[in-house]
């Protein structure tokens, strides 16, 4: 068993009366591809926001490489090697594709406060950006304004922006959202390559079970804010509770508690 790189302790978030994330404990091992799945409204994205620091939890703690990062501002967490993507495409729409990724690469360096030399002189970032664009398959479109890319390419660009600073853990929130079915394997292949190539850990949120079954080392299933099941893909596929959560929502015992 390898080291645990990311870990949550009784992580909880309430919005008024609604408990979006209900005392979640998850351990993510370094170097694995760990998926968090669950139907819409299960609290996956809220959980993600809590871990990455965009949302403060009501209670509970998050540990990254053994350190408590619960109260760490977002930009600090990223400097420690925690990169994340968003469910809704989140890029710099008016900047070029290259500039989007170059900025992401530059964020990790120590030159961001340099004022008096052209950014073009810091070619390590340019090189890194080109490298990443090659990796995600966007070379040749460097000078397009990001907003003119088709949706699928925008998702790739976002992946590039997370890759550029070379993080240890990549948290991807539904990277395939809205993509055409035939593009999904390509992107998932990319995600898998990233994880296999380096020593990277990937945390993947998906509501689509099929996408993750093949690529995941480990799967956590969330349902109505809580962890329903955790295990390898095979274990999850065999788990009856998961089947009901996904397909048979209708046949589950009535649960009025969750509604108020």
């Amino acid at each position: 068993m390898s080291d645990v790189i990311l870990e949550t302790h009784d992580l909880r978030r309430e919005f008024g009366a609604l408990v979006a994330v209900d005392d979640v404990n998850v351990k993510i091992e370094a170097g694995t591809l760990h998926s968090i799945i669950g139907p819409n409204g299960a609290g996956k994205t809220t959980f993600f926001n809590l871990v990455s620091g965009t949302l403060p939890p009501t209670s509970g703690t998050v540990f990254f490489k053994g350190e408590d990062i619960t109260a760490l501002p977002v930009h600090r967490a990223i400097h420690r090697g925690l990169g994340r993507s968003f469910q809704i495409t989140n890029i710099f729409p008016n900047l070029t594709v290259l500039e989007n990724v170059r900025l992401a690469a530059q964020a990790m360096g120590r030159d961001s406060f340099r004022l008096f030399r052209s950014h073009g002189r810091y070619d390590e970032y340019l090189r890194r950006a080109a490298e990443v664009l090659e990796q995600v398959g966007l070379s040749g479109q460097e000078l397009m304004p990001a907003s003119t890319l088709p949706h699928g390419d925008q998702r790739k660009l976002e992946l590039g922006m997370i890759l550029a600073p070379d993080p240890e853990v990549l948290m991807l929130d539904e990277p395939t959202a809205g993509m055409a079915a035939e593009q999904v394997p390509e992107l998932m292949g990319l995600v898998q390559r990233i994880q296999v190539a380096g020593t990277k850990t990937v945390v993947l949120v998906e509501h689509n079970m099929n996408v993750v079954m093949r690529v995941s080392d480990r799967i956590t299933v969330m349902h109505q804010g809580a962890v329903l099941a955790e295990g390898s893909a095979a274990e999850i596929a065999a788990d009856e509770r998961v089947q009901t959560a996904y397909l048979g929502q209708l046949y589950e015992a009535p649960n009025p508690e969750a509604e108020s």
Partner: protein, 233 residues
């Protein structure tokens, strides 16, 4: 007869090209389910039909009239009701006010009161409460009820089952089935089981384009399409 028809509709939100050619038909008196993945453009399709995110090109006709360039309120007054994904309950208004605000003519609410409270008896009990105090399920009921107040010929309902407990979903499905006796429904639904049990027709969108459409009965057997476009099955 086709009540709502969209032909090669393109919509931009800000600088993002969201709909890249949606085509669909909603036959009068039936329920059509709009299916697809997260972010495929289902919600935007409804909003575009409603005039909230106006189409940049393509035609949208309602009952034979081109509505693609009309303002939202104008489209609504032709008899379209909209139940948005986030329910958009007015938190500062009481349940009753939330219903009354949908009146297009004085007395609309009085006429429909009985029908609405038959469908959703809970609402009668909560009539004085401000919208913000309702639970998720009650808000969803109110949002649907609000669309029922005026005489709407077509209801656009976005994700009625999202985030609801199973027992409430059952209730909501029953309500939609009953109200479909009175008006046509275009339904966006993630939960395929819910969609397949309600709708007679389906349209699948992906990356902002219509990729497949037909009778729901055929889709239920088409495991490959379900797997390809809808994922979990």
């Amino acid at each position: 007869m086709t009540l709502l028809a969209m032909r090669d509709v393109h919509t931009f939100i800000g600088q993002f090209h969201i709909l890249e050619g949606v085509t669909l038909d909603v036959p009068e008196g039936e329920i059509v389910a709009l299916l697809g993945r997260n972010g495929a453009g289902k919600t935007t399709t409804l909003k575009t039909a409603m005039g909230l995110t106006p189409a940049r090109s393509g035609t949208i006709t309602f009952d034979g009239v081109d509505i693609s360039q009309r303002r939202s309120f104008d489209i609504a007054s032709m008899g379209l009701g909209y139940v948005p994904e986030n329910r958009a309950i007015f938190a500062d208004l009481s349940v009753e006010e939330n219903l009354r605000i949908a009146e297009r003519q004085k007395g609309d609410f009085a006429k429909k009161e009985e029908f609405i409270f038959d469908l959703f008896p809970d609402l009668k009990r909560l009539i004085r409460l401000p919208g913000t105090n309702l639970s998720g399920g009650q808000q969803q009921m109110l949002a649907v009820a609000r669309a029922l107040v005026p005489d709407n010929r077509l209801l656009l309902i976005d994700e009625p089952s999202e985030g609801l407990a199973p027992v409430i979903i059952e209730h909501m499905m029953e309500a939609i089935r009953q109200l479909s006796d009175r008006s046509t429904v275009l339904l966006v639904e993630q939960n395929f089981i819910v969609a397949s049990r309600l709708a007679q027709h389906y349209v699948i969108v992906e990356e902002g384009r219509t990729v497949q459409a037909g009778a729901m009965a055929d889709l239920v057997d088409d495991e490959e399409a379900i797997k390809k476009y809808l994922g979990a099955a």
